[in-house]
């Protein structure tokens, strides 16, 4: 990169730093306990919607919606100082690897002056009084809990100083907390353990506190390891299936050989029930909603071990009724998507109305740009699975007048409510324990596993531990729907200007009912457009935007089918995992038409300074424009979302020697050999965790570009394992991956879990296009009609476990031929 392009890093700035007072409660308890409403702060007033709003998500995005829907009704979250001087906080959120419990511990440590390791954060059971305040999605967690947790810890600090001042006979103003002690200027100190009861309150009362200013932070912004890292690497971290609930029997379900099929009859129930270890064989509804009946069903088997469940399921002789999508295949879906153009003017009132509802695609009226030309491109995105490593799981113990369930739910209140409705109990009779999840990625917003487990437990009259088989995770599990994006842009070669940018996105309907349904309804009044749009259109408008100045922007979204024809759901980064790559590929096409460097083209047109800074950072750190051999190229993309901004520069090697490299059992193909990321989330709380989220986003992005997809054929998804569904593996992961966390640019943290996915897809796809000279238009690129693996049978439904594990480690399963779309 030429030296004149380099810029000095921008100094941190904290606009609007304030010393506001915050209200909380000192709680009557045996030791010091404080409570704070989750409504303690007030983003909304600070960010009124400006007008006109050409793209709604820029001023009011999904993370605002999620944060706002948690405002009015929340009850208290509490921080407790235990007698041993440690602090406990029960967090009304799910933790599935995003590191939010670690962040919560850091916030408490910061305000209280205690080592991070002395703060124990656990996950709260379902708490209906918190209403929407107990959901973990859309990367909103850190945004909505940041201030309340700090307020609670600051109140606790204040009480500790008061109590210590009595004991030390010193003014509270001469005292401070550090390292789990109150220390005085004179040098004396008392450990928190000795103050836990002295600082306790005999009655509950309101109290005010102030928060530390950013300049005084000693914990926030420093790298901290995960709170459960040691447990995770020693095998001591307990996931749902590791919990020893007395009497809970392993349970799995035989599922139909078609999407949402139903059982007509079980023909050898008695025979299967007499198999070794098997205790129960029962037909149950697998419907995703409570009390709706058996729109889909299966046969549950309980046994002494999960292995015996698998064998029994494969021995079952079941007559199955038809499925929900019989006869549909990728090709038929694509035809229907193409036949359904998205309206570019959405129902009124929409953001477009505010710019007159007109998209200036003609040359008239544009004044001095001169004649314009157009680029048009359609992009196809195939079905994707959002499965985590830990399959869908739940333990359920259903009695006549109560139910107790353990599951890594992302919305435990919703889980509790649905279980109560399914079981005809009150919510008070249903306890939902939130376990730490082995990945979530949106899949655990739905209650498939807890509902099934509860149904089986009720039917067989004993506690059950229910787990999905991997094959079912691929074939029956919720999917990110197949969709197409049609883009058209006009530009003026004379004025070297993009005049208009239009994107019509058409998708198979996405099921957002669990995730966003009630929340969007409750907040509809605040949104300028929600009333007349579908849920999915609302989610689209809340997340879609173009970060560049590309003239008049028009975005449209529509769907085919009912929301529950296929089992769909939220995936990491929602629509933006497809919408943004389509845009960025289009930007590269426009840059080429206007004969500009792709990075400079973006830099010139980025609207936000923060976005420009991350782009400049990857340009410099990733050495944009360096000499590369033919077949190797760089690609770059920028993305704003969740109050953050991120740039990714990827380098892809498509040369035959690389793409055809032979690794036993591997789908190799083009190699992303180097990735540089720069991320600005406003205020980074834990840079180490933030980097991890970006790294994960890159890996997921690579899968979406090259190989990770489901094939729909004759009403079923063909993939049945991690070798069929080809998520990024060690052999695909970039040997060099650098994430740069930008210095704080604000006083508040933004979300990170989803921020890195779509932008990574985009950068890798753009690099691939430049390396091969061909813009890929169908994703993943390796999604071919002829599947590169041997399709496992649907009847019997589960692949049998091999018996040769001792003689053939590491036996590759039947992976297909080498994947090399470049050669």
């Amino acid at each position: 990169m030429p030296a004149q392009h380099r810029v000095a890093p921008r100094p941190p700035r904290f606009p609007g730093t304030s010393r506001r007072q915050f209200l909380g409660y000192l709680l009557a308890a045996p030791t010091l306990a404080v409570g704070v409403k989750l409504t303690a702060d007030s983003v909304l007033e600070a960010e009124a919607l400006p007008s006109p709003a050409p793209e709604v998500s820029e001023v009011y995005d999904l993370s605002d919606l999620l944060a706002d829907s948690t405002r009015p009704t929340a009850n208290l979250i509490t921080v407790v100082l235990e007698r041993d001087g440690t602090v406990s906080f029960s967090m009304p959120r799910a933790e599935s690897g995003q590191g939010i419990t670690t962040m919560a511990a850091m916030l408490i440590a910061e305000e209280m002056g205690i080592p991070v390791s002395d703060v124990n954060v656990t996950l709260a059971d379902a708490r209906p009084e918190l209403l929407f305040n107990q959901q973990t999605q859309g990367s909103s967690t850190v945004i909505s809990i940041y201030t309340p947790i700090r307020v609670a810890a600051a109140l606790a600090r204040g009480r500790l100083l008061e109590a210590a001042s009595t004991l030390l006979g010193d003014e509270a103003t001469n005292l401070r907390t550090t390292g789990g002690k109150v220390v005085s200027e004179a040098g004396s100190s008392i450990p928190f353990a000795q103050l836990a009861t002295a600082a306790a309150n005999s009655e509950t009362r309101e109290a005010l506190t102030e928060l530390k200013g950013p300049d005084d932070f000693t914990v926030i912004g420093t790298p901290q390891r995960r709170d459960d890292v040691r447990a995770a690497v020693t095998g001591k971290k307990n996931y749902t299936m590791d919990i020893d609930v007395p009497g809970a029997v392993p349970t799995m379900i035989a599922r139909p050989p078609t999407i949402k099929g139903t059982v007509e009859s079980i023909n050898n129930e008695d025979q299967v029930r007499s198999m070794p270890g098997v205790t129960d064989v029962v037909e149950i509804s697998t419907d995703a909603a409570p009390g709706r009946g058996t729109t889909s069903s299966g046969v549950a088997v309980c046994a002494r071990t999960f292995g015996q469940c698998i064998d029994a399921i494969n021995a079952l002789d079941i007559t199955w009724g038809g499925g929900n999508a019989d006869g549909e295949s990728d090709e038929s879906i694509l035809r229907q998507l193409r036949a359904s153009p998205a309206p570019v003017n959405l129902p009124s009132p929409t953001p477009l109305d505010q710019v007159g509802g007109q998209i200036p695609l003609a040359t008239e009226g544009l004044g001095n740009v001169g004649p314009v030309e157009a680029v048009e491109q359609e992009f196809v995105f195939h079905w994707r699975s959002n499965s985590a490593m830990e399959p869908n799981v739940a333990v359920a113990d259903v009695r006549s007048d109560s139910a107790e369930v353990w599951t890594p739910s992302q919305i435990p209140i919703n889980t509790q409510d649905q279980l109560a409705r399914e079981l005809d109990l009150t919510t008070g009779q249903v306890t939902v324990h939130v376990t730490r999840g082995g990945g979530a990625f949106g899949r655990r917003l739905f209650n498939d596993a807890p509902l099934e487990a509860a149904r089986v437990s009720k039917e067989v009259g004993k506690p059950v531990k229910l787990m999905w088989h991997r094959a079912d995770e691929c074939r029956v599990g919720r999917v990110h729907p197949m969709c197409i994006s049609r883009l058209r842009a006009t530009y003026s070669p004379g004025a070297k200007q993009v005049v208009s940018f239009e994107q019509r996105h058409t998708s198979v309907a996405t099921d957002y009912t669990e995730a966003f349904g009630d929340m969007i309804s409750s907040q509809a009044a605040k949104l300028p457009f929600a009333n007349e749009l579908t849920l999915s259109q609302t989610v689209f408008l809340l997340t879609a935007s173009v970060p560049y100045d590309v003239g008049a922007v028009a975005l449209g979204y529509n769907e085919i089918f009912d929301f529950d024809k296929f089992a769909t759901g939220s995936s990491r980064n929602l629509n933006n995992m497809d919408v943004r790559p389509a845009q960025e590929l289009m930007i590269d096409l426009l840059a080429a038409k206007l004969d500009e460097d792709p990075l400079d083209f973006r830099l010139d047109r980025l609207e936000s300074d923060r976005a420009k800074a991350v782009l400049e950072k990857v340009r410099d750190e990733g050495d944009w424009g360096r000499d590369l051999p033919e077949g190797v190229a760089q690609g770059v993309a920028v993305h704003n979302e969740y109050k953050g901004t991120v740039a990714v520069l990827a380098e892809v090697d498509t040369r035959p020697a690389t793409a055809n490299r032979d690794i036993r059992g591997a789908t190799t193909g083009p190699r992303v050999r180097k990735v540089t990321v720069a991320v600005d989330v406003g205020l980074p709380i834990n840079p180490l965790g933030l980097k991890a989220q970006m790294e994960g986003g890159v890996m997921t992005g690579i899968a979406h570009v090259f190989t990770g997809s489901l094939h729909l054929r004759d009403g079923n998804f063909l993939e049945g394992s991690w070798d069929d569904y080809r998520y990024t593996r060690h052999w695909n992961s970039p040997p060099e991956l650098d994430v740069h966390v930008m210095p704080a640019t604000g006083e508040r943290p933004g979300g990170a879990g989803e921020l890195g996915v779509g932008v990574s897809v985009a950068a890798v796809a753009c690099a691939y296009a430049r390396a091969t000279g061909t813009t890929p238009t169908s994703f993943p690129i390796g999604h071919t009609k002829d599947v590169p693996f041997r399709v496992k049978p649907f009847v019997p439904p589960l692949p049998p476990s091999p018996e040769d594990g001792l003689t053939s480690y590491p036996t590759p399963s039947a992976a297909g031929p080498v994947f090399n779309p470049a050669s």
Partner: protein
Amino acid sequence: MPPHTFKVNGRPVTVDVEDDVRLLWVLRDLLKITGPKYGCGINVCKACTSHINGRAFNPCSVPVGQIRPTDEITTIEGLPETVGADLHPMQEAWIDRDVPQCGYCQPGQIMAAVDLVKKVKADGGAITDDDIDGIRNMCACGTYSRIREAIKQGAANM
């Protein structure tokens, strides 16, 4: 139902179960040793990777009837003991690099890494990126870069 006797993590165990039940379920469901995780049951994801007589294997794909009384099974829980320490150097490297996200795949990743490094060292070599490329263990959180660094770091201390 024949009793099966073997050693797990240095302790002799006896279980009464049919011969064809795969060892993963004997460990998890009957012996309550839950470090090895289920991710596929068909020797693809490698989440269950453990060691038998010091070599990596996948208990989801081995019927318990094939385990001999003299066989020593080591799961992630027993790994530190194999070096007589609180933590194996590979676990230390994993902590130092803050590798896990959800953590579900990590016991398997660590057991596979230890085996790979031992094998490479026995062949007189040092661990390379190419060696690491060949590891089959799946991670849906995408922690591969940190695993790559941690293996090199752990190998240096093994």
